[in-house]
C-alpha cells in the first residue's frame, strides 16, 4: 500500500514528521499515517496551537525548576542539580497493549522473586542443573551473609523496575531488570504532575490511568511489613545522600509517601534492633525502603569499606526485627547473565510460558554461548555479567561493531580469559517517539521503564512509566547520565478513570498526636541550624554590600574624605580574608572608587571566594539539600532562589545589575523568614533554625558595634547612618531623634532596645528562649549548659551597663569598657554555636578494628 503524504490530512503538528525506515514509530504507522490513539492527541494539541504549547511549556519548565527537580550527573560541569529534562508530548499506550504488558510484567516479578528465594535459600535450581553454579558463585552480587534470612513471609522484591524496548515488528522486549533499588518511579510521578497541570484539558479528555493508586498500594504494603508493631509502624527511606544522582527522587518520594528520609548515619542498631536517632532520642524503625545498594548497607557483614550503611543491619534483619525492601541481596538478579535461562525457568517454576521476552542474551560463562558471542561480536553489545567488585569501576557496555582492530582483539582476549564476567546482548533497533523540539515534532529513540510493587501475594504494575528518549535520533544508548530526556507515559483506559488521593482510607480513627511527631534526625537538626546561620549571614552581607554600593553610585558618587573613610570602615567590618583591595593608598580618587566597586562585585558574585554572598547562599542551599524532605514545598521554592547571585560573567556586571541582585537576595531571604514565622510548627527544627539565626545576627551586630562605635572619630554621622541602614532601624531612629545622629542613642536602639527586633538585646533574648526550649526536650540532656551560662552572663553585663557611660570617650581614642563588654559577648556566641553543633552532629567517623 502506498500513500502519498500530501494527500493525507495529518494533524498540523505531525506534518513533516520524518519516518525512519525499518524502525517502529510509536506515533505514526506509516509516513503521514498516525496510529489511532495518537491521532486524537496530536489533533487536540494542534488545536491548542503551537504558540499556546510554547507558552504552557514555558510555565511547566519554570515549575520544574522551582520544584527543584534535578538529576545529578557525575563529572558534568553543571554537575549537581542539573534541571530535569522533560518533553511535553507523552508516550501513549493503548489499553489492550497495556493489558498484555502488565500480565507479562507481573509474571516476570513472580519469576525473579522465585529465583532469588531459591538462591538465597535451598539452591534447588543449582542442584537441579537449571542454573549454572558459576552464575551465582562467581557473582559478586551474591552476598553469602544474606543467605538463609527469615524472608519466607515477605517477597525479596518489593519494588522492581523493568526497562522495555520495542523492536521494529512492534514487540516489546526486556532490556534490563532493576531489582537492586530501582529509581525512576518518583520522576515518573513528577512528570505526571507537571503534564497533568500543564494540559488538564487533554488529561481529562484521554482517560489516562492515574498513578496515585499504585503509590498508595505500595505505601500500604510497606506499612504492613512491620514485623513487630502493627498499629503505628515507622518506615524510613534510606538514601546515600545529596550526592547521589537521584537524590531529588529520594526526598520527593519520602515526602509523597510520608516516610522519614534518612542516611545511614541517622540509624543505629541496638539489641539487634534498628533505631532512628532523632532529637527526641532513639525511635524504633520497622521497615527500611532502601535506595542504597545492598552491598553498602552494613559495613560489618557486607562491604566493610561502606560509610553509607548501618553497622549491624544484617544481624537485625536476621533477628527478624526489621524488614529491608528490597531484601538485602536482591541486586543479584539484575545480572543480564540470568536472562537466557528465564524462559526455561519460567516453564519449570511457574509452569507457564514466559510472556515478556528478554532481549536475546548470551552469558559467556558457558562454552557455546561464548563461541556465539565471539563469532557475532559485530552485532552484539558486550556487557559486564556481574556488578563491579570492590573499588574497581565496572566496564561500560561495548558495541562490538564499533571496535577498532586492537580494541577488538583486547576484548576478545578478555572474553577468553574471564568468560564468566561477560554477557553478549543483541542490539535492539529501538522504536522512535515524537519529541517537541523547536516548534516541531521530531523522532527520538525511546526506552520505557515500568515499575512493579509487591501487593499481598502478588505484584501490581504502575499504569504508566518513565519514558526516556535519546538525545539524538542516531544515538543508540538511552540514558539520563548521557543527557537524554524523559517523557510522561499515558496508559489509556477504556473505562472512566477514578481519581485517587494518597490520604489514608476513611473510617479509621487516627490517634490524636499533639506536640509533634518529630522524626527529625539529629543530623538534620545540624543542617537546619546552619541554614539559619547562613541565611542570616547572607542577609547581613547583602545589606552591607548594598549600603556601600549605593554610595558608590549616582547622587552619592562624589564625596569627601570623611565619607570615603566611613565607607571603608563599613567595608572593614566584613573583615574579608580575601580582600582584593591593595594595602597601599591608591593614588587618585577615581581608582579608589573603581577598586572598591570591583571588590564589592567580587564579594557579591565570586563563587570561588568563600566569603562572597554567592558562596554563603550556596552553603545555605546545600544545607537545604540535606534536609529537603523535612521542608515544605513553599520553603523549597523560596530556597531555589538562592542561586540569584550565580553568574559566570560577574566581572561585566554593572552596579545597577548588582544592586538588583542584592535587592532580590534580601527579598528572598525575607520570604524565607516569613515562612518560618507563619508556616512552621514550633518544633525542634524551628528552634534550631531560630537559634542559628539569632547567633549569627548577634555575631554580626557585635562586630559592627566594635568596628563603628568603639573607635572615636570626629565626624561619625555618615558611619552611624550606614550602621542604622544595615541594621534596618533608620526609620525608628529618625522617628525618635529626627536627624541628629549620636553614638549613644544609636547604640541604645541597636543594642539595648528589646522592642527592636533588629537589636542585640532582642537577638539574645530570643536565642535564650530557643535554648530553653531545646534543652528541655528529651534529647536535650547533653545540652551545653555551661556555654549557654557564659553567654547569659556576658550579655547581662553588657546590657546592665549604662549606655551613656559606655559611650563616653575614653583614653587613646577608644570606648574601652564598651569594647571589653562586647568582646566577652562576642566570644561566648561562637563557643555556644560550636558546642550545639558538637552535641547534635555526631559525625564521629566509624573506625575499623580488626
Amino acid at each position: 500500500m502506498s500513500i502519498s503524504p500530501d494527500t493525507l490530512d495529518a494533524p498540523l503538528l505531525a506534518a513533516g514528521y520524518s519516518h525512519t525506515d525499518g524502525v517502529y514509530d510509536e506515533m505514526s504507522a506509516a509516513p503521514g499515517v498516525l496510529r489511532p490513539h495518537w491521532d486524537a492527541l496530536i489533533g487536540s494539541m494542534s488545536a491548542l496551537g503551537a504558540d499556546e504549547l510554547v507558552r504552557r511549556w514555558k510555565i511547566a519548565r519554570q515549575r520544574i525548576r522551582e520544584n527543584g527537580v534535578t538529576y545529578n550527573v557525575y563529572g558534568d560541569p553543571l554537575g549537581m542539580d542539573r534541571p530535569w529534562n522533560l518533553d511535553s508530548i507523552p508516550l501513549l499506550i493503548p489499553p489492550s497493549e497495556w493489558d498484555s504488558l502488565e500480565a507479562g510484567l507481573i509474571q516476570r516479578a513472580r519469576l525473579l522473586n522465585h529465583i532469588l528465594a531459591d538462591l538465597y535459600g535451598p539452591q534447588q535450581l543449582l542442584r537441579g542443573g537449571l542454573l549454572p553454579p558459576a552464575l551465582v558463585f562467581a557473582n559478586p552480587g551474591f552476598w553469602r551473609a544474606c543467605h538463609g534470612m527469615p524472608t519466607a513471609v515477605h517477597p525479596y522484591l518489593h519494588l522492581l523496575a523493568v526497562d522495555l524496548a520495542r523492536s521494529p515488528d512492534g514487540q516489546w522486549w526486556v532490556l534490563a531488570d532493576r531489582t537492586q533499588a530501582p529509581s525512576g518511579a518518583g520522576y515518573a510521578l513528577e512528570n505526571r504532575t507537571v503534564l497533568a497541570e500543564t494540559f488538564p484539558d487533554l488529561f481529562r479528555e484521554f482517560q489516562v490511568q492515574r498513578l496515585a493508586s499504585f503509590f498508595r498500594s505500595f505505601r500500604d504494603h510497606l506499612l504492613n511489613l512491620s514485623p513487630t508493631r502493627h498499629d503505628n509502624p515507622r518506615v524510613v527511606l534510606l538514601t546515600p545522600g545529596p550526592f547521589n544522582e537521584t537524590y531529588f527522587e529520594h526526598s520527593y518520594l519520602a515526602r509523597y509517601l510520608g516516610f522519614t528520609l534518612v542516611q545511614g548515619a541517622d540509624l543505629t542498631v541496638r539489641d539487634s534492633r534498628v533505631f532512628l536517632q532523632t532529637l527526641d532520642g532513639l525511635k524504633p524503625v520497622d521497615v527500611i525502603l532502601r535506595r542504597v545498594d545492598d552491598s553498602f548497607c552494613d559495613p560489618i557483614e557486607l562491604r566493610s569499606d561502606s560509610f553509607l550503611g548501618v553497622a549491624g543491619l544484617v544481624e537485625a534483619v536476621r533477628a527478624g526485627n526489621v524488614v529491608v525492601a528490597n531484601a538485602l541481596g536482591s541486586g543479584l538478579i539484575e545480572s543480564p547473565a540470568f536472562m537466557p535461562f528465564l524462559p526455561h525457568l519460567c516453564q519449570q517454576l511457574l509452569g507457564e510460558r514466559l510472556k515478556l521476552p528478554s532481549v536475546a542474551t548470551w552469558w559467556c560463562g558457558q562454552p557455546n554461548p561464548l563461541q556465539y558471542v565471539l563469532d557475532n561480536l559485530d552485532f552484539l553489545v558486550v556487557k559486564p555479567a556481574f556488578p563491579a567488585q570492590g573499588s574497581t569501576p565496572g566496564m561500560e557496555p561495548v558495541f562490538g561493531g564499533k571496535l577498532r582492530g586492537d580494541e577488538r582483539s583486547r576484548l576478545i582476549a578478555r572474553l577468553r580469559e574471564r568468560p564468566c564476567d561477560f554477557a553478549g546482548q543483541e542490539l535492539v533497533n529501538l522504536s522512535t517517539v515524537p519529541v517537541w523540539s523547536q516548534n516541531t515534532l521530531t523522532p527520538r529513540r525511546v526506552v520505557l521503564r515500568v515499575f512493579l510493587a509487591a501487593s499481598q501475594d502478588s505484584w501490581i504494575a504502575m499504569p504508566g512509566g518513565l519514558a526516556r528518549v535519546s538525545p539524538a535520533l542516531d544515538t543508540p544508548v538511552v540514558s539520563m547520565q548521557r543527557g537524554g530526556g524523559s517523557k510522561d507515559t499515558w496508559v489509556l483506559s477504556n473505562l472512566p478513570v477514578e481519581a485517587v488521593t494518597l490520604q489514608r482510607p476513611r473510617g479509621q480513627p487516627l490517634e490524636l498526636n499533639r506536640g509533634e511527631g518529630t522524626d527529625l534526625p539529629s543530623r538534620a537538626a545540624d543542617h537546619i541550624f546552619w541554614l539559619g546561620r547562613y541565611a542570616e549571614r547572607g542577609e547581613h552581607l547583602a545589606r552591607v554590600l548594598r549600603c556601600i554600593l549605593i554610595r558608590l553610585t549616582g547622587e552619592f558618587g562624589a564625596f569627601g574624605t570623611s565619607e570615603w573613610d566611613s565607607l571603608m570602615k563599613l567595608y572593614d567590618c566584613l573583615a574579608s580574608p580575601h580582600s582584593r583591595l591593595s594595602e597601599e593608598d591608591p593614588q587618585g580618587h577615581l581608582d579608589q572608587w573603581r577598586d572598591l566597586e570591583q571588590e564589592i562585585l567580587s564579594l557579591i558574585f565570586e563563587e570561588q571566594r568563600s566569603d562572597s554572598l554567592n558562596a554563603v547562599l550556596s552553603r545555605a542551599a546545600r544545607a537545604v539539600a540535606q534536609v529537603r524532605a523535612s521542608l515544605s514545598s513553599d520553603m523549597l521554592r523560596v530556597a531555589s532562589q538562592f542561586g540569584a547571585a550565580h553568574t559566570s560573567a560577574w566581572g561585566y556586571a554593572s552596579t545597577g545589575e548588582a544592586l538588583a541582585v542584592l535587592n532580590r537576595c534580601i527579598g528572598t531571604l525575607a520570604a524565607l523568614r516569613g515562612i518560618e514565622m507563619e508556616n512552621i510548627t514550633r518544633g525542634a527544627g524551628w528552634h534550631f533554625l531560630g537559634a542559628g539565626r539569632r547567633i549569627e545576627r548577634s555575631i554580626q551586630l557585635v562586630g559592627l558595634f566594635r568596628a563603628i562605635i568603639v573607635p572615636l572619630s570626629p565626624r561619625t554621622w555618615p558611619t552611624l547612618e550606614m550602621l542604622l541602614e544595615v541594621a534596618d532601624s533608620g526609620m525608628t531612629y529618625r522617628s525618635r531623634y529626627f536627624t541628629e545622629l549620636q553614638a549613644a542613642p544609636v547604640l541604645d536602639l541597636l543594642m539595648n532596645e528589646e522592642a527592636n527586633p533588629r537589636s542585640l538585646a532582642f537577638q539574645i533574648h530570643d536565642l535564650l528562649e530557643h535554648c530553653r526550649s531545646l534543652s528541655g526536650r528529651p534529647a536535650g540532656a547533653a545540652w551545653p549548659v555551661s556555654k549557654q551560662a557564659h553567654l547569659e552572663e556576658a550579655a547581662a553585663n553588657l546590657f546592665r551597663a549604662d549606655v551613656r557611660e559606655l559611650c563616653e570617650p575614653g583614653e587613646s581614642g577608644l570606648r574601652k569598657s564598651l569594647d571589653q563588654l562586647l568582646a566577652a559577648t562576642g566570644a561566648a556566641l561562637p563557643a555556644l554555636s560550636d558546642a550545639i553543633t558538637n552535641v547534635y552532629f555526631s559525625h564521629a567517623e566509624m573506625e575499623r578494628a580488626t
Partner: protein, 291 residues
C-alpha cells in the same frame, strides 16, 4: 590430641568509645577429625545481647554490640577440643589434576557444588595468568592433584620468607607475590590464588597451632597467634589441608576454627567503633595440649 585453647584479644582505646559493633569467629568447628567439647566467648564489659549463628560456610559467627561508653574491650574464647591424627593421604594415588578440574563441569552433586563455592575469585583472591604460570611448574600434565599441591606448598615455602613486618591485613596477594615476604595469611592467599588460577577449588582455613612442639621437634611458625593455611579439593579424598608457611600437611597439631573463600570470610574478630578512638590491640593465643 586434646587441647585447651585460649584466644584473648584486648583493645585499649585512647578515648572512650560510645558504641561499637563486633562480629567474631572464634568457635572451633566440629569435624570428623576434630571434636570441640566446649567453647565459649567471654566479653568484658558484658554486652547486653550476644547472638550466634552458623554463617554460609558453617562457621559459628557471634555478633554483639557494646552500647555503653567503654575504653577497654576484652574478647576471650576458651575451647576444649580433641583433634585426631590422620595418616597423610595418598598423594601420588590421587587423580590427575586436569581431571579434577574437568570433573567440576559435571552434574552438580552436593560435593561438586561445595567445591564450586571455592573456585572463583573472591574479595581478596583474584586469579590471574601470572600466578597460573608460577603454579604450573608444580602441575605438569597428568600429575596427581595432591602430589602437585604438595609440591606447590614446598615451593611457596621455599620462595617466600616469613616476615611479620612486610605486610598488613589488607595487603593484596599480588604485592606479597612481588615482595616475597609476608605472614601466614599471605602464604595461604597465594596458594589459594595459584590453585584457583588453574581452575582448582581451594579454601582458606583459619585456626591455631599447638604452642609447644612435641619433644625433639622444632617450634612451628605462627604459634601464639591465629594461624591460617590452605585446603585443596580432591574428588576422591575431599578437602586436604596444606600449610605453606610451615611446608607441612596439617594433622593433629593444627586446630580448625573456620573456613571460607579468603580471610574476609573468616576474620576472627572484626568491629566498627563509634567515637573515633585510636586503639592499641593485644592478642594472646594459648594452645595447651592436655593429653
Amino acid at each position: 590430641m586434646i587441647y585447651r585453647v585460649r584466644h584473648r584479644t584486648t583493645y585499649d582505646y585512647e578515648d572512650e568509645v560510645s558504641v561499637s559493633h563486633h562480629v567474631v569467629r572464634l568457635t572451633p568447628r566440629n569435624l570428623p577429625v576434630q571434636r570441640c567439647w566446649e567453647s565459649y566467648v567471654a566479653i568484658l564489659p558484658t554486652p547486653p545481647v550476644t547472638s550466634s549463628h552458623f554463617d554460609y560456610f558453617g562457621n559459628t559467627l557471634t555478633s554483639f554490640t557494646m552500647q555503653e561508653p567503654h575504653d577497654c574491650l576484652i574478647v576471650e574464647a576458651n575451647s576444649n577440643l580433641e583433634v585426631t591424627a590422620v595418616a597423610p593421604p595418598d598423594f601420588s594415588g590421587s587423580p590427575p589434576w586436569e581431571t579434577v578440574q574437568e570433573s567440576l563441569a559435571g552434574s552438580p552433586s552436593d560435593d561438586i557444588l561445595n567445591a564450586l563455592q571455592f573456585v572463583f575469585d573472591s574479595q581478596r583472591v583474584r586469579s590471574n595468568a601470572e600466578l597460573a604460570g608460577y603454579a604450573r611448574e608444580s602441575f605438569p600434565g597428568g600429575r596427581p592433584l595432591l602430589a602437585a599441591v604438595l609440591d606447590l606448598t614446598r615451593r611457596i615455602h621455599q620462595d617466600f620468607r616469613f616476615d611479620k613486618k612486610a605486610t598488613e591485613v589488607a595487603t593484596p596477594v599480588q604485592t606479597f607475590f612481588e615482595k616475597r615476604r609476608g605472614v601466614c595469611q599471605d602464604f595461604a592467599h597465594l596458594q589459594i590464588a595459584c590453585l584457583r588460577s588453574l581452575g582448582l577449588p581451594a579454601r582458606y582455613v583459619s585456626g591455631y597451632l599447638r604452642t609447644m612442639p612435641p619433644p625433639g621437634r622444632p617450634r612451628l611458625v605462627g604459634a601464639d597467634a591465629s594461624h591460617a593455611w590452605c585446603s585443596a579439593w580432591c574428588p576422591v579424598t575431599g578437602w586436604v589441608d596444606f600449610d605453606p608457611t610451615n611446608n607441612c600437611v596439617p594433622s593433629d597439631g593444627h586446630i580448625t576454627v573456620a573456613w571460607g573463600r579468603d580471610y574476609s570470610d573468616v576474620s576472627p574478630i572484626y568491629g566498627l567503633l563509634l567515637g573515633g578512638a585510636r586503639h592499641k590491640l593485644h592478642v594472646e593465643v594459648d594452645v595447651m595440649p592436655l593429653a
